[in-house]
Symmetry: C2
Subunit: 213 residues, 2 copies
Amino acid sequence: MYSGQVPKTAPPQVRAALVERAAAMLARREPVTLRSVVAGTGASTMAVYTHFGGMPGLWRAVREEGFARLAARLAAVPPTDDPVRDVVALGAAYTENAFAHPDLYRAMFDEVAGLADRSAADGGFSALVAAADRARAAGRFAPDCDPEQLAVRVWASGHGLTTLVLTGVLPVEVLLAQWPRIAVALFVAVGDEPDRCARSVDAAWPPRLPTPP
Amino acid sequence: MYSGQVPKTAPPQVRAALVERAAAMLARREPVTLRSVVAGTGASTMAVYTHFGGMPGLWRAVREEGFARLAARLAAVPPTDDPVRDVVALGAAYTENAFAHPDLYRAMFDEVAGLADRSAADGGFSALVAAADRARAAGRFAPDCDPEQLAVRVWASGHGLTTLVLTGVLPVEVLLAQWPRIAVALFVAVGDEPDRCARSVDAAWPPRLPTPP
DNA sequence: CCAGAATACATAGCAGTGCTATACCTCGGT
DNA sequence: ACCGAGGTATAGCACTGCTATGTATTCTGG
């Protein structure tokens, strides 16, 4: 039979509902499968194909949603008069987001290639670049320091530690203890004064991580 | 029917054959499925269950094989009279291995928890620790520098850049250009003299990466 | 040297997966 | 009021990992 009597609210709402449900199931560590995703929404399996072209398309949308949430979280970090502190604060917000939604974080970086909307991912990164550029403008970093390259170094080291912790290779304590040391080394290498740098880093670290059950 | 006429060579050889075939199919980017793996070996699907207890067990064995190959590759890096150079050489060998077997590398770090034989993974890491310790003993690093912690910082930053490149987020050039800068920053932060450090890093970088098709 | 036990094997079939073909309903424009 | 376009539901496809069952092979003890 056909249950067309259901009041159709808005057609594009199905898209968001499916993505949201998939992300929620991912967070609950439930298996995210075609039939299980559509089961809660009342929609049929075909909805995934009309809206996303298949399961890979749905995963792509979920990854984009994850990057959008990350970018929103990073955008909520308020700039202060200490731009070096702000860089570390962005790093802390980054790890907080990763540990708040670990499976979503892993899915995000499973395969970024072929992402339709890369602006969300770039948005988060550009916040880091902007903070580094402010530090350079404030005289904390050397004038010839490329903010974008420094941001890559900061991001890659934090991402590496985060993934190693999330996959169970390293305990969380290692991330908490080692990332500030990497950050100080990177900042001092581009001209920041060691003591002042350490104070700035300590002002925004450690992040508030959820206690693992 | 049962083809028992086939000359059975050695029973445990089946294990290695299945792992090797799975790794080879992974490298060829073919879908590694239960039936496709056993197809080439002439064995039946049950072999996977008697030897590995299922597909997850096979994947676990493949990951261990990957870590063993990595450890062997790192062990082949000859120590020189410049221990700082050796640390970078280990990093170069690490990235060379990752880019030579990208899918195996990704599978290795998909889920390290529950790895039966962690000695292989630790073996590669201890080589890095040993080189850092030699640098400390040679006076390049400060006496209070913990080689293990420094090794974690070096490894995590390299791992982060490597995974970001392998997943398509960053181009290879970023890895080649930024990792030595991270390494110099980390080494100088623990006491190495900047100019000498730069020379040591340049002596072992960049790695020889296979040209991507 | 040979019984008995333990192990590995091949086959068939199970539930579940992503996906597609087809018929159906709903809706917007002339 | 019609009719074409597009989203939807259903059924079925090939495939996945896995298990039950019966059989062959290998190891062990006397």
